[in-house]
Amino acid sequence: MNTTQARLFSRVRSIWPIRVSLSAEERLAYLFVLPAGLVIASIAFFPLLRAFWLSLHDIDLRYPAQGQPFVGIGNYISLLANPRLHNALAVTSAFALVTVSVELVLGMIVALIMNQEFRGRGAVRAALLVPWALTTVVSARMWEWIYNAQYGIFNAILKGLSVIDSYRAWTADAQFSFWAACLADIWKTTPFMALLLLAGLQVIPRDLYESAMVDGANAWQRFWSITLPLLKPTVLVALLFRTLDAARVFDLLFILTGGGPGYSTESLSILTYRILFTNLNFGMGSAMAVIVFLYVMLISFFFIKVLGTKAGRAI
């Protein structure tokens, strides 16, 4: 290597953003991260880009002969003008809002109860995990049976209490189906919310409460001035992940109500699934998939940037 080359080489090295030579530790680190990176890139990120690419085309698998013409944002324009999308957005948002807020309030009450010392606390905590572990499909079918219009126990109990005078078809009546689905979701996830909040409660130092009691603060004041502010980070993380779950809801509604009656419980995920695999319209369906992705990312952006949620604080 002559001197000019050497000078050039050292200049390139000095402005090159990554050091050319990696330490043994760095080399091992990149080697260890590589498999996870490959899996995530090829099964999450690359398909997402592909979905975006598909969404710019007219792809109808029922008519393969028509080819796959490029239509630009045509699919997005016709979707945004479609009342079915507006309906799915409204259903999904309402579902998320109703279930997550009820779960938060109920979960908080349960967590506060569970945060006290009492006999059998371990057993109760185990009982809380049962609805969480239950497969959503099983839970959906179980509630389908509970809500059954002729033999359902839900009807029998309400009639026994004289709340209703005749049996109702809870999942087939547009007046009730949305609320029936909300109740089933609240049943399944309130215990999980309670467990998350309980874990947050347990790291609040006890002596804070003791000194507040010495200062004469009552239980309500202690809750507002100690518990809530210190629990806020946990509450935000729990809310973020629960809201994302609710925004992606598919299994429960698909099985319990099938999105119906009519479109009264058709969530964004169900609408996307139908356009894709019932209509076999992969162009329009992919546009829908991109819209769902943006909707979900908007929610996370709101929680992380606006509310300052520190998701993944464990790391």
Partner: protein, 293 residues
């Protein structure tokens, strides 16, 4: 009665009454909540023990009388439900194994090695945990059918590994960080390479964390429905969730609710046992992302 004459002891009596009332209210609310949690599950189990003649009656019977166990046999008749259970075990088991292999390496690098781009990787992992599965289902479907993988187990294992990676990486990173820093130093002094240090010292010590991950990933894969429903179209390829959704009667007018609930109990039982045996680990794993420590 003597106490009433003395104002002091009267006060004490009132405060004791208040405490008892408080306690009663506490157990009352607790009782309601436990009832709310377990009653639907009880109903599922009771229904599975009823024959058609005790099932389709009004008002419903709170106890199965007589106890009818045939549903647990007929649930398997005329449909490949046993095969579906086997499929679920294979898919969930292999997903868990691959997930741990890939996830523990990544978590180790994040927790204990110095390198550039850590923040980017953490952000990507977080983004994947928020990914809506429906967003990638169509491209994956096209890709899998081009590769003739529809109705095969890899079609489910690949997405399951991917979408449960964030969970595993989170839990294990937190776990690896808690191990004392001198471990690798001591291994280095003894002449071990970093790879040997990881395999021989760190992995065995992290066994409880790895085990927690394994349970959670298994439960996730066992319960998943969207990908399974989309990528599995042959009855013998179904996993339990799809099989349960597709449960139909054999030409009967009513759905066979006795069989459906019996199948549900069978599908749920492995999970309930896992949960009850390992509840402490599961709770600490689940709350690792939400609470520091």
């Amino acid at each position: 009665m003597v106490g009433w004459r003395n104002p002091r002891s009267r006060e004490r009596l009132i405060s004791r009454t208040a405490r008892v009332v408080n306690r009663l209210l506490f157990y009352f609310f607790l009782g309601i909540f436990i009832f709310f949690c377990l009653a639907p599950f009880y109903w599922l189990f009771v229904t599975s023990l009823k024959s058609n003649s005790t099932l389709f009656v009004n008002p419903p019977l709170l106890f199965p009388n007589p106890i009818y166990t045939r549903n647990y046999v007929t649930a398997f008749e005329g449909r490949p439900f046993a095969r579906n259970i086997f499929n679920s075990f294979v898919v969930a088991g292999l997903s868990t194994a691959f997930n741990l292999a890939v996830g523990s390496l990544c978590a180790y690098a994040l927790a204990r090695l110095r390198f550039k781009g850590k923040q980017i990787i953490l952000t990507i992992v977080l983004a994947v945990s928020m990914f809506p599965g429906i967003a990638v289902v169509a491209p994956l479907y096209l890709w899998l059918s081009n590769l003739h993988l529809i109705n095969t187990q890899p079609a489910l294992i690949l997405p399951y590994v991917t979408f449960s990676l964030p969970l595993c990486i989170w839990i294990l990173t937190a776990f690896f960080q808690e191990l004392p820093a001198e471990l690798e130093e001591a291994a280095k002094v003894d002449g071990a390479t970093p790879m040997q240090a990881f395999l021989r010292i760190i992995v065995p010590l992290a066994a409880p964390g790895v085990f927690t991950c394994a349970i959670l990933v298994f439960i996730y894969a066992w319960n998943e429905f969207l990908f399974a429903r989309t990528f599995m179209s042959r009855e013998t390829s179904y996993t339990v969730t799809v099989a349960l959704q597709m449960f139909q009667g054999m030409g009967e007018e009513l759905l066979p609710w006795g069989q459906i609930t019996a199948a549900s109990v069978i599908v749920t039982l492995p999970l309930v046992i896992l949960v009850l045996v390992f509840q402490q680990r599961i709770i600490s794993g689940l709350t690792a992302g939400a609470v520091k420590g």
